[in-house]
Symmetry: C2
Subunit: 243 residues, 2 copies
C-alpha cells in the first residue's frame, strides 16, 4: 500500500452562494483526479465555514461586561472575545492572551476555533461549522468517497500546530488493534489509533505547502466505511485528566 | 506536489548486534526504493530501542517503596512502575492506571514511553532511545536523506492515538508561515506548523496497517534541510498551561 496525498487545484475563493460539493468536484476534475469510493477528500475548515456563511462582522458585535473583562486580561478585542465565548461551552484555560476553549461541539482548542485574520482583513471572523460531521456526510454523498474536515490545533506540550479532524464521514475515527500482533507474534502495545487525525495531519501539511489548496485527495489508504464520525474522538470530561 | 508514503518491506526482527542503518538500507533496496536526499525515512521507536539495547528485564528490577506505592494506586506491576519512574523527570498526572510523565528528554506521554507488551511476552520492556535526535542524525548520514523517529502518543482531549516525532534529522520540526498569505491575499492564521509531527502521524498510520513494517519512506514533500530537531518541539514548562 502506497498512500498518496494529492493537492486539489483550481478551487476558487468560496462564497456562501456556491455549493462546496460542486466546487470540490470541479477542482478534482480539473486536477485530473477521478474519485473512487476508496479515496478520501480532506477539506480545510476555513472553506467549509465560508461556504456555510459562518462569518461574523466584528462591527456588529456588542461585548458583554464579562467579555470586556476577559479581553482586558488577554489584551484582545472585546468583540472578538464575545464571539469566542459565544462559541465556548467551557473555558478550559486562560493565561495572558491564550484562551483554550471547549467548543459547543466538544473540541478543545484555542479561541474556540474562531479565526480572525483570514477573512476580510480582520474586520470579520470565521466560526467553526455548526455540525462538521453532517457537512462531511453531505460532501461524502456528493463526492462518492470518504471525507475529512480538518482544522489546525495546538498541542499542550509540543510547539507547532498540526491538523486534526473536526468532521468526518466514512473514514474510521478510531482503529482498534486489540488482540492483533505486530507480525513478529507479539501483541501490539498501541491498541487504538486515530486514522482521521493522522490523515488530517498530513493533509494540513500538504495544504499549507501550496497556495490556494484548501483540499487534498488521499489515495491508497485501506479502510472500510464506518458510521462513526468525529463524535467518537471527543474524550468525555470525566475521562479527561487535563480539563 | 504529490506526497507519497511507501512501506519499507523486508525488515527483519531487530537485535542489538545489527546496525539499524544497514537493515533499513537493505529493506529499502529490497522494496525497490532508491533513496534521494529529498526523501524522508520514518522509523518506529520500537526498532530503534531494540537496536540500541534499550530493553530491561523486569525480573532484575527492585522497586522502591515509592514505586510500590504508585503501583498499588495504579494497579500496575511495581517493577514496571520502577522502570517508568526511572525514565521520568516529572510525574504530570496520576489517575487510576494512567501515568502521564515528562520523560528525561522532555516529552510528555503515558508511562514515559516504556513499552511492556511488545518484547519477550511482557517479561521485559523497551525504553525510549537515550537520544533519538542523535540516532536520527546518524541514520540520516547513513541513508542520505531526512529521518524521523516516531512514537505513538495519546492526546489529552481526544480519543485514539497518533504518532509524533521523538527524533528527527534534517526535516523541519517547525515551519513558520508568519508574514505569508493564503494565496487569496489574506494573512495566514496558522503561523507555525510542525512538519515532522504531521509526517510522523501518517507514517505511523501506514506502519500500523501492514505487518512487519516498522519504517516507511516519505517522498514528494518539499523541504529544505535544517539543523533543528525535535528539541525545538518541546514546550518549556513555563509556557505550558497543562503541566
Amino acid at each position: 500500500m502506497n498512500l498518496q496525498v494529492c493537492p486539489i487545484q483550481h478551487i476558487p475563493e468560496i462564497d456562501p452562494s456556491v455549493g462546496l460539493g460542486a466546487v470540490l468536484k470541479k477542482g478534482l476534475s480539473q486536477s485530473g483526479l477521478d474519485v473512487v469510493p476508496q479515496d478520501i477528500v480532506a477539506v480545510a475548515q476555513k472553506v467549509v465555514s465560508k461556504a456555510e456563511g459562518r462569518i461574523v462582522q466584528l462591527a456588529g458585535v456588542r461585548p458583554s461586561a464579562y467579555s470586556r473583562l476577559i479581553a482586558r486580561h488577554a489584551a484582545k478585542d472585546p468583540r472578538l472575545v464575545e464571539v469566542i465565548l459565544s462559541e465556548t461551552r467551557r473555558l478550559v484555560r486562560l493565561r495572558r492572551d491564550v484562551l483554550i476553549c471547549e467548543t459547543r461541539h466538544g473540541f478543545v482548542c484555542a479561541n474556540a476555533g474562531v479565526d480572525r485574520s483570514n477573512v476580510d482583513g480582520g474586520h470579520s471572523v470565521t466560526l467553526l461549522p455548526l455540525d462538521p460531521d453532517k457537512t462531511a456526510a453531505t460532501l461524502a454523498r456528493q463526492l462518492g468517497c470518504g471525507v475529512i474536515i480538518t482544522d489546525t490545533f495546538g498541542r499542550p506540550w509540543r510547539e507547532g500546530l498540526v491538523d486534526v479532524a473536526i468532521g468526518s464521514a466514512g473514514v474510521p475515527p478510531l482503529l482498534d488493534f486489540r488482540g492483533r500482533t505486530d507480525g513478529y507474534g507479539y501483541p501490539l502495545r498501541v491498541t487504538v489509533l486515530s486514522p482521521v487525525d493522522a490523515l488530517a495531519a498530513v493533509a494540513g501539511l500538504v495544504m499549507s505547502k501550496t497556495s490556494r489548496v484548501p483540499a487534498v485527495l488521499i489515495r491508497g489508504f485501506e479502510w472500510t466505511p464506518v458510521a462513526e464520525n468525529t463524535q467518537f474522538l471527543k474524550r468525555s470530561p470525566e475521562k479527561d485528566l487535563f480539563r
